[in-house]
Amino acid sequence: MKFIISLALKNLSRYRRRTLITAFAIAIGLMMFIVVDSVLIGVEAESMRNLRWYETSSARIMHEEYWEERLLKPLDISVEQPYEIISSLEQIGIPAAPRTTFAADMILYSDDFGEDGNMSVQVTAVDPDLDNTVFRFEETLIEGRFAEAGANELVIGSWFAEDIGAELGYWVTFVTRGRGGFYEAMDMQIVGIVNCPNPNVNRTLLMIPIDVADEYLGMEGTVTEINMAIPERSDISKEVARIAEMLDDSSQRVKVARWDELAQDYVALAETKRGGTSMILFMVFLIAAVGISNTMLMAIYERIRELGMMRALGMSDRAIQLSFMIEAGGIGLIGSITGVLLGVLGNIYMVNVGVDLGFLMRDLDMGYRIQSVMRGAWSPATLVVAFLFGTLLSMLVAYIPTRRALKMDIPSCLRHQ
């Protein structure tokens, strides 16, 4: 065994250039794997956080029947006495805020916008006092101020404002049907523009005070949803079950949905992307495997005579096989160590600085809730997997060419040029 290991190590240094080139190829493959995986984990974690902070909150309470009809945004299926529920939630340490969302036609006027026009939009009515205890819009205001309770004021997403040419002080009208089906028109003045890390919000946000919406839409104190901020480190499923149990005792028929239920489309998209990225990673590994296999094939074929001599002198096929696999494992080990080190270096940059893809995200909706900088995240498991995979895969791909060479008869090996 000592001789086998010693021979394998000596052959590694004998073909130094070959060893280094192959190890370098493995290292690049592993580095790519580590960095891509890190960015994927980072982007996904940040997207999920931005979903919770700006779109869905951690969990949402709504009327039991609203869930099925949620895409139609019906106003007549709403939660009654929302502030009683909010107060109960606050008592168990969970900040909550009511919202009413409704679909409307937004009319733009030529006086402000240069030409008349209209478009279908979704409007979110929020409680100015409570909304920022659940969502994180406080720091996102880039122009103006937030809408005040009782005022016909509107806050708009920055990209939306850019797209329609909106500025502070412009007026728009929302035409919609109130609770009960009557038509209503609301004139609103833009008082603030927000730009948050969630591009979806920047593209679509229209936020008005909930008391104004209540009056116009005839909500009679009801709301379509109550959003909650469950502490980040808590087990959301457990908390949701606890809240649902608490609400069961009340007379209201409500459902509590987790953020990932609310963002089913995103979760499905993320899973599909993960599948696609796994394919890319698999391809990276395949290229590395073919590279090592080819190197080992060449190494074995140029040493066929040596192999024949060792077999003639009574060395077992198993020992020869092991020697070549240790040699390949050595290449894999050098490549894996280098690859993990390069991956860690690349990751330090990706985690702390990241790549600014703002120019791409502005016009291209990739589904991720990242506005510009894509950052990585540390994953010790990925480093371990990359290291083991690089080393073991190298050994594995050496098995087949060695096996083939050992199938040759000894005289043919000895004659081999």
Partner: protein, 225 residues
């Protein structure tokens, strides 16, 4: 005692069958220094390979010290070669990354001998073949003659019953070739090891105590001197 009885070996080159050995029979006593001579394609290397258990025959039988080696399976043949046979090749076939010492000692490592015994036996055989002081040199820093001396040391270090040498002097100049032959003969006399070598060099044939001539896969003459 090696007994070769009516041995047949055919090779297939596409649809053509090349009959390398056509019923060769031969007996070789222990300690003989025998040369298998003949022109290229006469079957001498094939006969050597069959006796050396590195090729399979198509007919006949080979027995070494009562063991029917031609009936053995692959694993048993490997085991047999490991303990009983030594090989010397025309192109030396040394492992370039190993030193002279390591090229010889690895044969004993395969036998799993204790480290101390490996060292003693390796140093002794290197001294006997005239390579004392060169044990740490790699093959690329040695002459052809010195490399063949390592190959002889490697073949003899495990005290095999038989040493098979395929054209051992073909890559050497005549003076070095003669030195190698003298060394082989000296080792044959000292250790009483059977030496069988193939050649088509008349100078090499001169050294043999028995000369078997092959022609076209058959024994043409068997001459004892």
């Amino acid at each position: 005692m090696i007994q070769v009885q009516d041995v047949v070996r055919n090779y297939h080159a596409g649809e053509t069958v090349v009959r390398a050995l056509k019923g060769v029979s031969l007996e070789i006593a222990d300690g003989e220094f025998i040369s298998i001579a003949g022109p290229s394609g006469s079957g001498k290397t094939t006969l050597l390979n069959l006796i050396g258990c590195i090729d399979a025959l198509d007919g006949g039988e080979i027995t070494i010290d009562g063991t029917r080696v031609s009936q053995m399976d692959k694993r048993a043949k490997t085991e047999f070669r490991r303990h009983n046979l030594g090989f010397i090749f025309q192109t030396y076939n040394l492992i370039p990354v190993l030193t002279a010492y390591e090229n010889v000692s690895f044969v004993l490592s395969i036998l799993s001998l204790p480290e101390k015994e490996i060292e003693e036996r390796t140093m002794r055989i290197l001294r006997e073949v005239g390579l004392e002081g060169m044990e740490h040199r790699r093959p690329d820093r040695l002459s052809g003659g010195q490399q063949q001396r390592i190959a002889i040391a490697r073949a003899l270090v495990k005290n095999p019953k038989i040493v098979l040498a395929d054209e051992p002097t073909a890559n050497l100049d005549s003076k070095t070739g003669e030195e190698i032959l003298k060394l082989m003969k000296q080792m044959n006399e000292k250790y009483h090891t059977t030496f069988i070598f193939s050649t088509h060099d008349t100078m090499v044939m001169e050294y043999a105590r028995r000369l078997v001539s092959l022609h076209d896969g058959q024994i043409e003459s068997d001459e004892r001197r």
